[in-house]
């Protein structure tokens, strides 16, 4: 059972292992993400996405955004979270490297901090639901996300 009601600060060092890696995909990007809890999983997915896009942030000024989500299931939240970041990259030229996520029942309040992009190599059209299941494993929660690029 996924824990939905907890605080997670992405800038803190979590107790368990977390990370992301690219999985070979013929045309698009597949990212495998693992983390001890849902909040960390979202943060790792965001970091992995920016890594694949080769996003480089300007050193200043720092910019913050507060984004709110309501969700029924964790997979939809994961896609909504990434979709919001993709939108902010395209519409405002922003990317983020610090995350503070607050879960309250079926609500998530995300305080994200970043800056304008200095450069980015790849255009991400969308984060997809292709075979998307957040599952529990020895590495904690794990998900494979395919991005249309």
């Amino acid at each position: 059972m996924l824990e939905k009601t907890k605080w997670y600060t992405g800038t803190m060092r979590p107790k368990s292992h977390f990370g992301f890696r690219e999985i070979a995909h013929t045309a698009d990007w597949e990212l495998e993400v693992w983390a001890p809890d849902l909040g960390t999983l979202l943060v790792q997915a965001a970091r992995g996405m920016y890594h694949l896009a080769e996003a480089k942030l300007s050193s200043h000024p720092r910019l913050n955004r507060k984004i709110e989500f309501s969700f029924q299931e964790p997979e939809t939240l994961l896609i909504d979270f990434l979709t919001e970041l993709i939108f902010l990259t395209e519409s405002e030229g922003l990317a983020f490297d610090q995350y503070e996520l607050q879960f309250e029942g079926d609500q998530l309040i995300a305080l994200v901090s970043g800056a304008e992009l200095e450069s980015i190599s790849k255009e991400i059209k969308a984060a997809t639901y292709h075979n998307l299941i957040i599952r529990e494993s020895e590495r904690g929660l794990i998900a494979n996300i395919v991005f249309d690029v």
Binding site: F87, A126, Y129
Partner: protein, 483 residues
């Protein structure tokens, strides 16, 4: 995983995954490929994704797979599926995020030899006038009211604003405008993304190429299209930009709950769908048509600026720098069409994702001059290889819902391509072959290297051999602009 033993060979160019392969398949999968291409295709999840697509409710006859197929997300890239009206489904994921991604071809009477010393300047001017790259904004600044007109009117809006000629519209699929586009079914967020991006190329595998007509295989069709060996042409490959991406994103999310409401069981959530006659299905259809119209207008504006680049660079150097339109065709689209199924005409929604409409001679929707030769099919190849012009056939109407291939089709992952190929080396290599490259990102260039794609000539020989399109002309690139 589908293996070659699961396939039944129909003939040299056609294979079938029978409906009995999986209990939840509603129709068989028909694959157009040679054995050699099939060996490449089976290395990724294309065929598994095609069998998943064959479970969609309301399918008729078969799911069709083109020889350039590759693994996508949900529905394979290079797939065609038709669902029966009124209760069959429409699936945003079976059309793709880049709604009406497509190709436009402009031809000229400019001889390559007369301008070969000006190609570097032409590449610079095209690169300047046709904005490319991630999230790039265009030269146009649309207000909401103008964007709504683009959504409703597509290329007709560009004609009214001086970016098109009547001849351009005549030689565009559906005259560059799908009836039934509904701006009220499109989110504010999609409109926010679309407003600044009209007339932009984007990134990824999108490009503007200047090619030379290398060989002609069908002299009559080439003459009608105005294609002459040794003359320059321009190919534009792009779609509906962030506007279409957002519309697809919105509806894939909304349909996650729609499938539950309509008790639709699917093997993959990205295949979510809704019955065509449902409020959800009708809303997506109206929004998708709006994105298609935006994409037609986008390629038209880019064509306008390509013409301006030719004028700025070549005026006074060649007697005639005019670019006339050959055709503009979508390869990510859902269209309501009538096809014969078991000898009976049936109204269906044809989902083409990475597949090109390829209607044969006699289709009344074609411009009069093309009715005797069939609809032009535009097949961009990989960078540095070749692109093709084909025509649709009567056979394609019977065997592939009037569809053919859309490109070379990837065969290598982006990460592997980047590990194997250094972008700057590739640029130099292509430059040494006389191909002028302007690219926003060297990493992006490496991902699109020719080695990452199938042999486009083999793909084209397959659809030609299978009879679902006929070869007209082969093009070779001399200028490539990429985001």
């Amino acid at each position: 995983m589908v293996s070659l033993q699961d396939l039944k060979q129909i003939n040299r160019f056609e294979w079938e995954i029978p409906q009995s392969y999986r209990a939840d398949m509603r129709v068989p999968v028909r694959i157009f490929a040679t054995r050699q291409l099939l060996e490449q295709i089976k290395n990724d999840k294309s065929l598994e994704q095609a069998t998943n697509a064959a479970t969609l409710p309301g399918l008729v006859d078969r799911v069709v797979v083109m020889p350039d197929v590759h693994q996508g997300y949900g529905f394979p890239i290079g797939g065609v599926a038709a669902t029966r009206l009124p209760h069959g489904i429409i699936s945003p994921g079976a059309i793709g995020y880049d709604i009406n991604c497509g190709v436009r071809l402009l031809a000229s009477q400019i001889e390559f030899d007369a301008v070969k010393n000006h190609l570097s300047d032409l590449a610079n001017t095209l690169n300047h006038l046709c904005p490319s790259g991630v999230g790039k904004k265009g030269h146009l600044r649309l207000k909401n009211v103008e964007l709504e007109k683009v959504i409703r009117d597509g290329s007709r809006w560009t004609l009214q604003h001086g970016y098109a000629t009547e001849a351009d519209l005549r030689r565009t699929e559906e005259r560059g405008r799908l009836e039934g586009a509904d701006p009220t079914k499109i989110s504010k967020r999609a409109k926010d993304r679309g407003r600044p991006q009209l007339g932009t190329l984007g990134a990824g595998n999108h490009f503007i190429e200047v090619d030379v007509v290398d060989q002609v295989f069908h002299p009559q069709a080439a003459q009608v299209m105005g294609l002459t060996v040794g003359h320059l042409v321009v190919m534009i490959h792009c779609g509906s930009r962030g506007f279409g991406h957002q519309i697809c994103t919105d509806y894939v999310r909304e349909f996650q709950s729609a499938v539950k409401r309509y008790s639709i069981q699917l093997p993959d959530r990205e295949l979510v769908c809704a019955p065509l006659d449902s409020p959800e299905g009708q809303a997506y259809l109206g929004a998708m048509r709006g994105a298609a119209n935006y994409a037609f207008a986008n390629r038209q504006v880019l064509a306008h600026f390509a013409r301006q680049a030719f004028e700025e660079t070549l005026a006074g150097k060649v007697p005639n720098w005019h670019l006339h339109q050959v055709y503009d065709i979508a390869h990510n689209m859902g269209k309501i069409e009538t096809h014969e199924v078991d000898g009976v005409p049936v109204e269906v929604c044809v989902h083409r994702k990475g597949a090109t409409r390829a209607f044969g001679p006699g289709y009344q929707g074609l411009p009069a001059e093309y009715r005797s030769i069939g609809q032009p099919v535009l097949v961009p190849g990989s960078m540095g290889t070749a692109s093709w012009v084909l025509v649709g056939t009567a056979e394609s109407m019977q065997r592939s819902f009037g569809s053919s291939c859309h490109g070379a089709g990837r065969t290598m992952s982006r990460s592997k391509a980047k590990k194997m190929i250094w972008g700057e080396d590739l640029r130099k290599e292509l430059q040494s072959q006389g191909i002028h490259i302007r690219a926003g990102s060297m990493a992006g260039l490496a991902e699109e290297a020719p080695q990452a794609y199938k042999d486009v000539d083999a793909v084209v020989e397959t659809v030609h051999g299978a009879g679902i399109a006929n070869k007209v002309a082969r093009l070779r690139p001399v200028v490539v602009i990429k985001g």
